[in-house]
């Protein structure tokens, strides 16, 4: 019997639940830590970003309209699928230069992190919402709602845990995400996209663009249908002018601890709505 010749995976973008190549036809090479060529990955263009934002916008209302219980289960399902592919994720991280021990530890924490955020979906309102004792006969309460479409600059370090630690607090409340990543994290991103595609996460809720973050982020910051940009994983050279463009539609700019986890990180992508109603007979 002939020796099996490996079938190499094509690294593509993840937009609206599908895996297209870049419309531009551009690619970049992804190498393992030892210098071997892993793939020619798709290098997302401005038009790919616009397509991803459109997919995210189309998916947002439906995702936010799911019950919190349901969103929690979908995030938990992501953890389940990751668990079943832990060997693959571990080898991704060792390919990127992690020691086997470090790789296993990061994969474990990554799976745990999905579980942790899954549980927040139906508890956010308790912790971040309030009932307000106003003067006068009014029932008054404040509750969180998703901001809308969020572009996430995925941190390069830690590559897997950092990326999903920035995605989970965005989507758990009903936002949709466009993730900008590239460089060595590309391998982790593409593998995570395959998990998301098979985890009951509706198409368009998470879109992943590989390429140059420094190129993608100015486009995202200037996009008028993006509500928030998470610059946690932004490259150092991002121009002030690009960040200033976020003011054109008063985007919420977020910068956070790349590997942290907190309900307040969920809060960074929430709007608070306050409702008044008279009390009377």
């Amino acid at each position: 019997m002939a020796e099996h010749i490996p079938v190499d995976k094509t690294f593509k973008l993840f937009i609206g639940g599908a895996f297209p190549r870049s419309e531009s036809g551009r690619t970049f090479q992804v190498h393992s830590a030892d210098g071997g060529l892993l793939a020619n990955a798709a290098k997302a263009s401005r038009k790919d970003l616009r397509e991803a934002v459109r997919a995210a916008r189309s998916a947002q209302t439906g995702w936010a309209d799911r019950t919190a219980y349901n969103r929690g289960q979908v995030l938990y399902r992501v953890a389940e699928i990751m668990e079943s592919r832990r060997a693959e994720f571990t080898s991704v991280l060792t390919d990127m230069g992690h020691s086997p021990g470090d790789a296993t530890a990061e994969v474990d924490r990554s799976i745990d992190r999905w579980v942790w955020y899954a549980g927040w979906a139906d508890k956010l309102h308790h912790v971040l919402g309030t009932v307000n004792p106003v003067v006068g006969p009014y029932f008054n309460f404040t509750f969180p709602e998703p901001t809308g479409v969020v572009v996430v600059a995925a941190p390069d370090d830690p590559p897997l845990l950092g990326m999903l630690s920035r995605i989970a607090p965005v989507i758990v409340s009903g936002n949709t995400a466009v993730v900008a990543t590239g460089g060595p994290s590309t391998l982790a991103a593409v593998t995570l996209a395959e998990v998301l595609a098979t985890s009951d996460v509706p198409g368009g809720v998470v879109n992943i663009l590989t390429g140059e973050k420094g190129e993608l982020l100015p486009w995202a910051l200037g996009h008028m249908d993006v509500n928030s940009v998470d610059l946690t994983g932004a490259p150092d050279g991002l121009e002030d002018e690009a960040v200033a463009a976020a003011a054109d539609n008063v985007k919420r700019i977020v910068r956070a601890d790349p590997a942290g986890a907190s309900p307040y990180m969920i809060g960074d992508f929430l709007e608070m709505k306050t409702v008044w109603h008279p009390i009377g007979r």
């Binding site: 309030t130 307000n132 004792p133 106003v134 404040t142 976020a246 003011a247 008063v250």
Partner: protein, 496 residues
């Protein structure tokens, strides 16, 4: 006595004038900046006048703040933050805030009259809304000063340092109170800039701060116009910025703050939809719509400036609205019977006049009640546009004046679609007697405050602020504390 056709004299009897006395206020000729506990001359020596918009009479000369003045104020604020205020336990900070609240209550008539003189709003509103709420804001946040660890579970928080705060002219003292109270409760020190047309009540507040022995430098007040505000935004000693005002200026501030990574709160413009269903309590809805757009001459960022009324009742509702508007009493803001006071400034009057002219030229139908405008001062009659298209300028842009547009809808979905068809998202109103419809609408409307079967209610316990281009961050409630605190780097909370 037979009813008459004159809506102001339905029984042939008019109201006698009931002016509030101005004897209670004492306005100085000239005011300096309030820096490090004292009134000081502006570095340039320049001043600008503030006038009574109802009479165009000169009230006082106000120091025009330069970058040098701002720097002096920031230095004083820094000194207080690193000195007494920063070292003080929250329980003691709270005492000062309680004292401010009490002083405002005790001197409320004086403040209310001064607010009306300087800004043109009816005394009924400055007396019954601005002053009680200003005092309540300090009282509410006073109680938070020693309880911050309970506001943010599992998070150790600390104040930013020196907060730069810029407030508008529509609720001059109240906006200052909304900004100062949470900043101080959280342990920050402040450089505050009141609006150039309405600086007097903030300067009277400085008097209160001296009386209660607030440590020097904790609150500094620098007066001036846009250039002074820009000097605050650009000052390198500022650790936190908060702005209430136009979306245009807010965006300019965000450009600076985002590149310098300074935490920012923005409370910007609005173009709120006020939605009336056929199954509403119509008389109450009429009152709500009138309150929503004509109180404070429509100088309210959350004003219900776009009436969306269900088609089946549109004609009769608009007729009732016109009748009600015809009974509004426009005139001397100091008169206790006045409903609609003076427009805040000549500039704002020009903007409203231009916008209304645009509305007419674009083809909307203008209704204004017969109404005698005083000869002196800045005045604009309550106005209603019908026949309005979504594309009309008056339906899209904030006017910040007593101008209502009317559009109709057939289904709740259409009402939501029209209500959300704006870059703004500050507030919205809903009138229906059907509870499930209120909650359904509430979930769909992209706005930070939703008033159902009421409008324009405010409370220090109730968070206020916008979605989308109406800004970010909240003022009021526990949520209003968060923008004035950051997570301490030396203590991190839990997580997975």
């Amino acid at each position: 006595m037979a009813p008459t056709d004159n809506p102001h004299k339905p029984f042939g009897i008019d109201y006698a004038p009931a002016p509030e006395s101005t004897a209670v206020v004492n306005i100085a000729d000239t005011y300096g900046h309030f820096i490090n506990g004292d009134f000081v001359e502006p570095s340039s020596g320049a001043t600008f006048p503030t006038v009574n918009p109802a009479t165009e009479t000169h009230l006082a000369n106000i120091a025009d703040g330069s970058a040098e003045d701002v720097d002096r104020a920031v230095t004083a604020a820094r000194g207080a933050f690193e000195g007494p205020w920063g070292q003080m336990p929250g329980s003691e900070r709270g005492r000062y805030l309680f004292r401010i609240a009490r002083q405002l209550q005790e001197r409320s008539r004086e403040f209310a009259v001064l607010e009306t003189l300087d800004g043109g709003k009816p005394i009924r509103e400055s007396r019954d809304l601005d002053l009680p709420l200003s005092a309540a804001w300090f009282f509410y946040y006073a109680g938070w000063a020693d309880k911050l660890e309970y506001a943010f579970p599992n998070r150790a928080v600390a104040p930013h340092g020196v907060a730069g705060q810029i407030v508008p002219w529509n609720f001059p003292l109240m906006m200052a109170a909304w900004k100062l109270a949470p900043a101080l409760a959280a342990g920050n020190t402040v450089v505050l800039k009141p609006a150039e047309t309405t600086p007097l009540t903030a300067l009277l507040l400085a008097d209160v701060l001296q009386d209660i022995d607030l440590p020097p430098g904790v609150v500094n007040i620098v007066t001036g116009a846009g250039a002074t505000g820009a000097a605050i935004v650009d000052n390198r000693g500022i650790d936190k910025l908060a702005f209430t005002g136009s979306t245009e200026v807010g965006k300019a501030i965000q450009r600076v703050a985002s590149t310098r990574r300074i935490p920012l709160t923005l409370e910007l413009g609005g173009k709120a939809a006020h939605i009336v269903f056929e199954d509403s309590a119509v008389d109450q809805a009429v009152e709500g719509v009138v309150t929503g757009i004509y109180s404070n001459q429509g100088h309210v960022c959350c004003a219900g400036s776009r009436l969306l009324v269900e088609e089946s009742i549109a004609d009769s509702f608009v007729e009732r609205l016109r009748r009600r508007i015809s009974t509004l009493r426009l005139g001397d803001p100091l008169d206790k019977n006045t409903d609609v006071g003076a427009i805040n400034s000549a500039d704002q009057l020009q903007r409203i006049t231009d916008m209304v002219a645009t509305g007419v030229s674009e083809g909307a139908d203008l209704f204004q009640p017969e109404c005698d405008l005083p000869d002196k001062g800045y005045w604009f009659p309550p106005s209603v546009f019908t026949g309005v298209q979504q594309s009309h300028t008056v339906a899209r842009e904030e006017i910040l004046g007593p101008v209502l547009t009317v559009q109709t809808f057939r289904t709740a979905e259409e009402a939501v679609e029209k209500a959300n068809n704006t870059p703004y998202g500050l507030s919205a109103g809903i009138w229906t007697e059907k509870g499930s419809k209120i909650l359904w609408m509430t979930e769909k409307l992209r706005a930070g405050v939703v008033w159902a079967n009421t409008y324009n209610r405010f409370d220090p316990a109730s968070p206020f602020g916008g979605y989308k281009e109406s800004g970010f961050g909240r003022e009021g409630g526990m949520h209003g504390l968060a923008p004035y605190l950051h997570e301490r780097a030396d203590v991190t909370g839990g997580g997975a």
